[in-house]
């Protein structure tokens, strides 16, 4: 279980990205984190594995106090936290296999990793994961030859080969087309269920979040303003999180009543939701 208590982050610029955020994620729960750009979603998940150093507060992952750790212990704990990124963050010039195996770096010594001498068990697992995400025919392709959806699948395999206890997912679908977005979200959620993994998924697409996650947390200006089931996410809650907008409008004739509407927020909502 992940337990975040009174987590705050103030950047050097003086911006309070997080204001005493407390959050508990039980084992096996997939949590969707929504909120406007700049609300602190990315900062929050990066504070969990300390890619961003929190200013104060505590992060407890299955009893380990992450915020207190020195660099050696932190690296050990990071192995238990898989991360998936918006722009995939694959090492572009390395092959698919090398990218997946890089998820095992925390378990392999420097020289072995330099000469790509990963244990056979890691390689077996990499093949198994690539098959699971549907890329077993692309093992030796270079990452920059893949399409967006394929890259994100490699990113997912890289996170899972860590054998994590928690997945941190930062806007996994923001760079993908609608169909691929759904496939990727479905894959992430299926894999979490198969492995009993808990996950925090930052996501802009509210409709997609409602479709796949079990719980939604709304973040606004560094504070949790909503925490509940996807079904209870109605117009008034969305207004609370994002601000005033005609949330019922899902097609053009309705939306045109509200001229200054930001089109990005409206047209991502599929009409069937």
């Amino acid at each position: 279980m992940l337990k975040i208590t009174a987590l705050s982050k103030r950047y050097k610029t003086g911006d309070d990205a997080l204001k005493a955020v407390s959050l508990e994620v039980p084992d096996g729960q997939v949590l969707g984190l929504i909120g406007p750009s700049g609300a602190g979603k990315s900062t929050l998940i990066r504070c969990v594995n300390r890619l961003v150093e929190p200013t104060s507060g505590s992060i407890d992952l299955n009893g380990a106090q992450l915020q207190k750790m020195g660099s050696r212990k932190l690296r050990k704990s990071r192995r238990k936290i898989g991360m998936i990124f918006q722009e995939y963050a694959l090492v572009e010039r390395l092959s698919v296999m090398e990218n997946v195996l890089s998820g095992r770096l925390g378990y392999v010594g420097f020289w072995k990793s330099l000469f790509r001498k990963f244990p056979q068990s890691d390689i077996d697992e990499a093949f198994r994961l690539l098959e699971r995400v549907g890329l077993d025919h692309m093992v030796n392709k270079r990452a920059d030859e893949l399409s967006g959806g394929q890259r994100q699948r490699v990113g997912i395999a890289r996170a899972l080969i860590q054998n994590p206890e928690l997945l941190l997912v930062d806007e996994p679908t923001a760079s993908l087309d609608p169909k691929t977005s759904r496939q990727i979200m479905r894959l992430i959620c299926e894999l979490c269920e198969e492995r009993g993994l808990s996950a925090i998924i930052n996501i802009h697409d509210v409709a997609l979040a409602k479709l796949f996650v079990q719980r939604i947390v709304g973040l606004q200006a560094g504070e949790v303003v909503f925490d509940g089931a996807p079904e209870s996410l109605d117009s008034s809650v969305l207004t609370q999180i994002y601000g005033e907008e005609d949330w019922e409008a899902t097609s053009k004739d309705k939306a045109s009543e509200n001229e200054e509407a930001d089109p990005d927020d409206v047209n991502v909502e599929p009409s069937n939701v």
């Binding site: 690296r75 050990k76 694959l90 090492v91 925390g106 378990y107």
Partner: protein
């Protein structure tokens, strides 16, 4: 035509530059032209125009003496030419040994200490770059005696700054997402370097190296002029004895060597991108 309208109507006026700025730019041009004319007069007053008028005739005379090249002399050039290529190649390789670590110490995102170590690394780079390899060779011939060794070290010393500067700029421009992703797996500092950073700078590294090697071929051909070995020694000897057919042959050989080196470096760069 817009400006005259804008001045009379209430429409907002937009100008690319304010009047003051415009005047300043005109003034700067005025100063530039005045200085240029003054310099022209200065040089003109101190030139023995008699020699300049004579130049075409002398040039034609030398051309007449220098052609045809003395082909049999080729036998005596192979060895110094081989030396020259070795000075360039080994000098470049030697410079890499020092330039790569210095680049990592100088790059803002990889330096261990931006306040202490980075300035020292930059100082090394500037020192190396500010002294031409011919001057380095002059110093080294005095210190370790004439010969190829002095030439090789001179090439290496000059190249360290060049390679390190371009490489540290490449390191500073890498995509940080990839580094972040590798960090998140629990990788150690050196693993982050070898998986997150090195693959990203490999194309730049290879390009810089062959570019410098290409320059070094040209530079090492003149090092003989100060006694640092190679084909320059032959060139100086031929010039001193006014053996123009030999001079023309040597220049032709250098020209061909440089063309071949440029062709090779272009091929390497194309292969790597």
């Amino acid at each position: 035509m817009m400006s005259s309208n804008a001045a009379t109507s209430d429409k907002p006026v937009w100008q690319h530059r304010t009047t003051g700025k415009q005047l300043a730019i005109w003034f700067a041009w005025l100063v530039f032209v005045a200085v240029f004319v003054a310099c022209w007069m200065f040089i003109s007053n101190r030139t023995e125009w008699y020699f300049v008028y004579d130049a075409p005739r002398i040039a034609a005379d030398i051309w007449g003496r220098a052609t045809p090249p003395r082909w049999p002399y080729l036998d005596k050039i192979w060895k110094p030419l081989w030396d020259t290529l070795n000075v360039a190649t080994i000098g470049t390789a030697l410079s890499l040994v020092f330039a790569v670590p210095i680049a990592f110490l100088a790059a803002r995102n990889t330096t261990p200490s931006a306040t202490l170590i980075r300035p020292i690394a930059l100082l090394f780079i500037v020192t190396s770059r500010s002294i031409n390899s011919l001057i380095w060779a002059l110093l080294l011939v005095a210190i370790i005696g004439p010969g190829i060794l002095a030439g090789t070290i001179a090439i290496a010393l000059r190249s360290i700054g060049f390679v390190a500067k371009l490489l540290y700029e490449a390191i500073e421009e890498i995509n940080l997402d990839q580094v972040e992703a590798i960090t998140a797996t629990g990788a150690s500092r050196w693993q982050i370097m070898s998986y997150g950073i090195v693959p990203q700078i490999m194309p730049a590294f290879a390009g810089i190296t062959v570019f410098r090697w290409d320059i070094n071929i040209r530079e090492s051909t003149v090092l003989g002029l100060v006694g640092a070995g190679g084909i320059g020694l032959q060139l100086q000897g031929s010039l001193n004895t006014l053996a123009w057919p030999q001079v023309s042959l040597i220049l032709l050989v250098i020209f061909i060597a440089v063309v071949i080196s440029e062709w090779i470096s272009a091929m390497v760069r194309r292969a790597i991108i």
